[in-house]
Amino acid sequence: MSSISVNTITDASGGTTTSINGYTPTASNMAGRNRIINGDMRIDQRNAGAASANTINGYFLDRWDVSQITTGKIIAQQNAGSVTPPVGFGNYLGITSQSAYSVISTDRTMITQWIEGFNCADLNWGTANAKTVTLSFWVRSSLTGTFGGAFINYDGNRSYAFSYTVSSANTWEQKSVTVAGDTTGTWNVTNGGGIGIRFGLGVGSNYLGTAGAWSASNFAGVTSQVNLVGTSGATFYITGVQLEEGSVATSFEHRQYGQELALCQRYYFKQVYSQTQTWAYGHTQTTNLARVTTQSPVPMRATPSFSTNATLYAVYAGDSSGSAPMSSLSCIDFTGTNVIIEATVTGVTGFLIAYGYNGSNFYSAEL
């Protein structure tokens, strides 16, 4: 091994486009280059590390959708099995197969992250100027062989299947896939779903394709891939997922915890009431109908869906005499970090303070 020690490196023309292993420091983003949110699987607002039921079919760790058409085949958990993550990481998403199941043609058991259109618009997919991207990740499985996944657009009619090989069982291995961007198809560039990244864990023939080419299809894996759900107790662990522009898999972009949490909260957050506390202010709109405004940590992607398991009351702000339970709550609009909620209240009028206890409010604007 040798090294160089110089003060200045310039390209042959004297300009500033020198590349190192295909990476150009003056042109390639360093901060913000990873389009994946929670790629290191740190944030788990929904479950705080608890395992899912075997009926899991939706968002699990923040921004990571764990889905199965035929339920009962997998469970998910942050740091399942408590193995040591790869060096530099503290967490991973673990999937464990619950049976020895033979997939049927319509099965699509997979892990997905949808990247919001705003966060991948600059890649110019769907145009002649589509940019090349590189996906990298750390994976560990009890099974070896060829695994599969896919890039997909939100309409589900453009996809690119990819494969990767797990060489050694129960060993962390880093994989990377470089893909020339799709020059056709419709790729959302606003607050809808942009690029989807799928990791297939049990994929039927309807969703399998040949690796390495764009297709007017809805792929989730590659033909003849290993299906985790086929082996009872088989495990699939993943972390350090990064999608970046260019043909080089750079080292994982570690963001600060607060940054990563805020990125996640654009899509989901919860207000936890460990003790009685005020969570919104508002007024009675009409008889028995209140509108209150609460604050989201960051502007959400869309008007969120709302759910609660807390006990919620409203009290007249004038003299705090009497209170009334709030029911039938729903978000009806949002502006910036102001989220407007409508609720049924009976017995109080005027300006209201809303308070809650014994539970949480949940807000979801996931893709």
């Binding site: 899991i56 709109q285 009409t286 008007t303 869906s305 893709l367």
Partner: protein, 67 residues
């Protein structure tokens, strides 16, 4: 009980219309309550609303709003 994730359209769900009453007395539909306890706003960018539209397109009918 923790609410961990949102249902999908291919699961058995039902919806009930949510109305609002504006200050001038106008009544209008502004969302739906889903059977798993989530309130879904009529925002075209909300993916739960998109699932509701698919559910409607499959020929289903929501329950009317409460009076």
């Amino acid at each position: 009980m923790e609410v961990t994730f949102i249902l999908r359209s291919y699961e058995m769900v039902s919806y009930k219309i949510k109305n609002t009453i504006e200050m001038d007395g106008t009544v209008k539909e502004i969302g739906v309550f889903r059977s798993d306890g989530w309130a879904i706003p009529f925002d075209p960018a909300n993916t739960d609303y998109q699932e509701y539209l698919k559910w409607l397109a499959e020929g289903n009918t929501p329950e009317p709003a409460e009076e």
